[in-house]
């Protein structure tokens, strides 16, 4: 599980941005290679090269179905990634299914992909409820039930938040929604959860689930949508019979094979990998706790084992990120530049963080190739950089603080 730290010229590089993307597992790459060279057949062709490609695609479907504990292979549709899977799920259950109005329930903390689709639907006559979260980044299942209306078509709630790692009570929500209104579809964007926490579609009770290969050591440009047998949604891409008519276009065979292999490895190594991730998380929080004025954003236990979003009060996260980058430590911040001005993370704001606290928050995310030694180095560099920046920066220059900001109460510290 331990590999050498990646290096760039002269500078050691510690990659702690696994929630953005992961390196391709060497086993995955090996499995893909034949399909980028001699095995170039089109799975729709009936001659031997085509049949070999078809066999590879169907083997991958089985690997993904097994990872998700799907009841039937036909429930897995390959897509170009989670963005397409989310588009297919949300548009396929609403606009593309012929509805001209209706209600959708989601949360304020979804990935921009889901939020973007919901805004698109709002502009076309649909109503969307964006549920709030508590200070620990959790959605209250009761709120979902309260939001249901006679014309609710679909509930879409992410399984794990990409910025904080906090898990959402999707199984509880699906059970409650189905008990009350069995016809309402329940979709989950499970992109960040796969290979980090158990993801079992039958235990979750969802109708639709989106995933992406590059978040769990597979290649970019390939993902899947789980569609429970019997659930009717309309396709996003038309003009071909592929994927049971649910996704037209010649299959990305090499990508599909890579996704399948990544799924197989995720299932095979699950215990080993997740134990490693939890160990790294405990170590990271314990070491960083030596730095004063820090706070964990998100739920302490109901979380991915691979993510820690930390408010480093008094240090501008952009400057922390830039200095850590200089020292070879790759992290990310939730704030985004939008039309020339900086916007704090919508997730952290939804949790009640002040603008300043949000601008001081950095996401660290590690993976199966991260070593304890890399965590130690990253924490050491973070402590140095933050102490230095706190000396040079006036807190009020970073952003506006407010009295509801949870940075200043609910206990301090990380470990």
């Amino acid at each position: 599980m331990t590999t050498e730290a990646t290096t760039k010229v002269g500078v050691r590089e510690v990659y702690l941005d696994y929630n953005a993307t992961t390196p391709v597992d060497p086993e995955v790459r090996e499995a893909m290679l034949p399909f980028l060279s001699e095995e170039f057949g089109n799975p729709s062709s009936v001659h031997p090269p085509g049949r070999r490609a078809r066999k590879a695609v169907e083997a991958a479907r089985e690997q993904v179905a097994r990872l998700l504990n799907a009841a039937d292979l036909s429930e897995i549709i390959f897509t170009s990634g989670a963005t397409e899977a989310n588009n297919t799920a949300l548009l396929g259950a609403t606009l593309l299914a012929g509805h001209r109005s209706g209600h959708i329930i989601t949360t304020q903390i979804e990935h921009p992909c889901v939020l973007g689709i919901c805004r698109f639907l709002e502009e076309r006559g649909f109503r969307v409820t964006y549920l709030p979260v508590d200070r620990q980044c959790r959605v209250d299942p009761e709120r979902v039930l309260d939001a249901l209306t006679d014309d609710t078509l679909i509930v879409s709630i992410m399984l794990a938040n990409n910025e904080t790692g906090t898990l959402q009570p999707v199984a509880e929500i699906a059970r409650a929604v189905k008990a009350k209104r069995p016809n309402i579809l329940v979709h989950t964007d499970a992109v960040q959860a796969i290979a980090k926490v158990p993801v079992d579609v039958q235990a979750l009770g969802v109708d639709l689930l989106a995933l992406s290969a590059h978040k769990f050591y597979g290649p970019k440009g390939i993902g899947a949508l789980y569609i429970r047998k019997g659930v009717k949604i309309a396709p996003l891409l038309r003009g071909g019979h592929q994927e049971q008519g649910m996704r037209a276009g010649t299959e990305n065979v090499a990508g599909i094979v890579g996704l399948g292999k990544a799924a197989e490895i995720a299932l095979r190594d699950f215990e080993l990998v997740t134990q490693h991730l939890w160990r790294l998380r405990r170590r990271f929080l314990r070491l960083l706790d030596e730095l004063p004025m820090t706070r964990l954003n998100g739920h302490r236990e109901l979380t991915l084992p691979s993510t820690a979003n930390i408010c480093l009060l008094g240090a501008d996260a952009l400057a922390v990120q830039a200095n850590l980058g200089q020292r070879g430590v790759c992290v990310s911040v939730g704030s985004a530049c939008s039309s020339g001005s900086l916007k704090p993370s919508h997730v952290l704001r939804a949790m009640g963080l002040s603008e300043m606290a949000a601008f001081c928050s950095v996401r660290f995310s590690w993976g199966k190739f991260t070593t304890e030694e890399e965590i130690d180095y990253a924490v050491e560099q973070t402590k140095e950089v933050v102490s230095l920046l706190r000396e040079i920066t006036l807190p009020e220059e970073i952003g506006v603080c407010d009295e509801n900001c949870p940075c200043f109460f609910e206990g301090a510290g990380l470990a």
């Binding site: 501008d316 830039a322 980058g325 200089q326 900086l342 000396e391 040079i392 920066t393 220059e397």
Partner: protein
């Protein structure tokens, strides 16, 4: 022995208000302290890539990024420069 300080300001192509402010604050310190040099480059400069500039101005003091998207606080910058120069006062 007295140290040397380089303040590098990475500005937008058309310097914004904060870019100009960062430059003015830095130039004032260069006038006040011997050993302080100010260098201004555009965000399009290849050197800017090294600092992973996401917003301007980005202010770098002896290789450390001290401010992103805003000019640094003048007093705090001065204190940092004094310590880099080896505790000298103006």
């Amino acid at each position: 022995m007295m140290g040397k300080v380089e303040i590098l300001i990475i500005e937008s192509v058309e310097p914004c208000d904060q870019c100009r402010r960062a430059e003015a604050i830095s130039q004032a310190l260069a006038q006040k302290y011997e050993g302080v040099k100010v260098r201004v480059i555009s965000v399009l400069d290849e050197e800017a890539d090294r600092y992973g500039v996401v917003m301007t101005p980005t202010v770098v003091v002896n290789g450390v990024i001290v401010a992103v998207r805003k000019a640094p606080d003048p007093e705090r910058l001065e204190r940092l420069i004094q310590s880099q120069l080896g505790g000298v006062k103006a």
